[in-house]
């Protein structure tokens, strides 16, 4: 996938990838000549399709962790995640997201919590010493 600044006839350079947490993805590209920035916005289905291939828009900065896709995307039958909790989880770097998800899932399961919300995550973080997760 490449982006062309038609006015400058210049290939635009990838600048940044953002995951807003609602299942969508935003990737920005900048023209090296005129500085114009455009954003490619994908809907949840398109984002999921990219994710299902095990690739990352903008390139990988670290090698994939073992079972990265399975850990991050397979519903293991644990507690449900509210949209707010999913949003917060999506901000966790992908290579540790599966592990973090499992920690919160185990925390909820041990306490009989059926839905993980941001409040549950705050409580778990405090109890388990998970600052930054």
């Amino acid at each position: 996938m490449k982006f062309l600044c038609v006015e400058c006839d210049q290939q635009m350079a990838f600048a940044e990838r953002q995951l807003p947490g609602d299942g969508t993805l935003a990737a920005t590209f900048k023209c090296p000549k005129c500085g114009r920035v455009v954003a490619m916005l994908t809907n949840p289905m398109e984002t999921q399709l990219v994710s299902s291939l095990g690739v990352e828009i903008g390139g990988r900065t670290v090698p994939a962790e073992p079972f990265e896709m399975v850990h991050a995307n397979v519903v293991t039958g644990g507690p449900a995640w509210s949209s707010g909790a999913q949003e917060r989880l999506s901000r966790v770097p992908s290579f540790v997201r599966g592990m973090v998800k499992k920690i919160y899932g185990d925390y909820a399961k041990e306490r009989g919590i059926t839905e993980i919300t941001p409040a549950v995550m705050d409580t778990a973080r405090a109890e388990l010493g998970l600052e930054g997760m």
């Binding site: 289905m45 291939l53 079972f67 399975v70």
Partner: protein, 260 residues
Amino acid sequence: MRTYHQLTDPDRSGLADQIGAQRKRVAARLAGVRRIVAVMSGKGGVGKSYVTAHLARGFARAGRSVGVLDADLNGPTIPRLLQVAQHAASPAIGIDGVKCVSMGQFLEDGAPLAFTGPSAESYVWRGAMEASALREFLGDVEWGDLDLLLLDLPPGMQRYIELCDILGTPPAVLTVTIPTPESHDAVRRAMRAAVERGSDLLGIVENMVGGELKGSAAADLALEFRTPVLARIPWHPSPDDWSELASRLPQPLGPRPQAP
């Protein structure tokens, strides 16, 4: 306006390179596996997993190092057949020392395979998710040195095609059928697809022989595809039946996986 190929700066995302790296990872992980054999059938309910598990045990009892990859992601049965505990580490060590990995190790008891994501359009991405899971099973499991890795495929041909693409080389195929004409028709299509993809047909196992199921599916398929009937497995087979099947598998069993 210039076209994609006229833009010569590299694509920063490098999606093709990322896919290539995935394939290399699989090839590197399977470098210690001497032979890969896909156990397949176009038909469900013929006992592929049953045959796979007991064939693996037959090899293991003969002193060979064997692994089983349960590629039936939606209906994993290998953990139960090999007596592997749920959530066992991957690869789990099953009965007779057979190594295995299965989606059953990742799911809660009785839970269907489901993925996070927008369910309304899941038909668009679910197949790719399953293919990615299969790739991770191949590329992320520390199989170590194996004489044989058996791949237990689900009914149909989709998983076989994904497997060919991920491995880069079509795996050798062991076909399982039951005697009936209905099974013959479904298995025939699968075998033809395997031949068209370039897989070696190692032979046919006819399962559930001697009961109410009537027909000559294995013999007819063997004649058409010029491949042997390796075993006719009765309803209540003995360990010797499986050991005999293991000894009848042609050597070599198939090509080593090659880096793309």
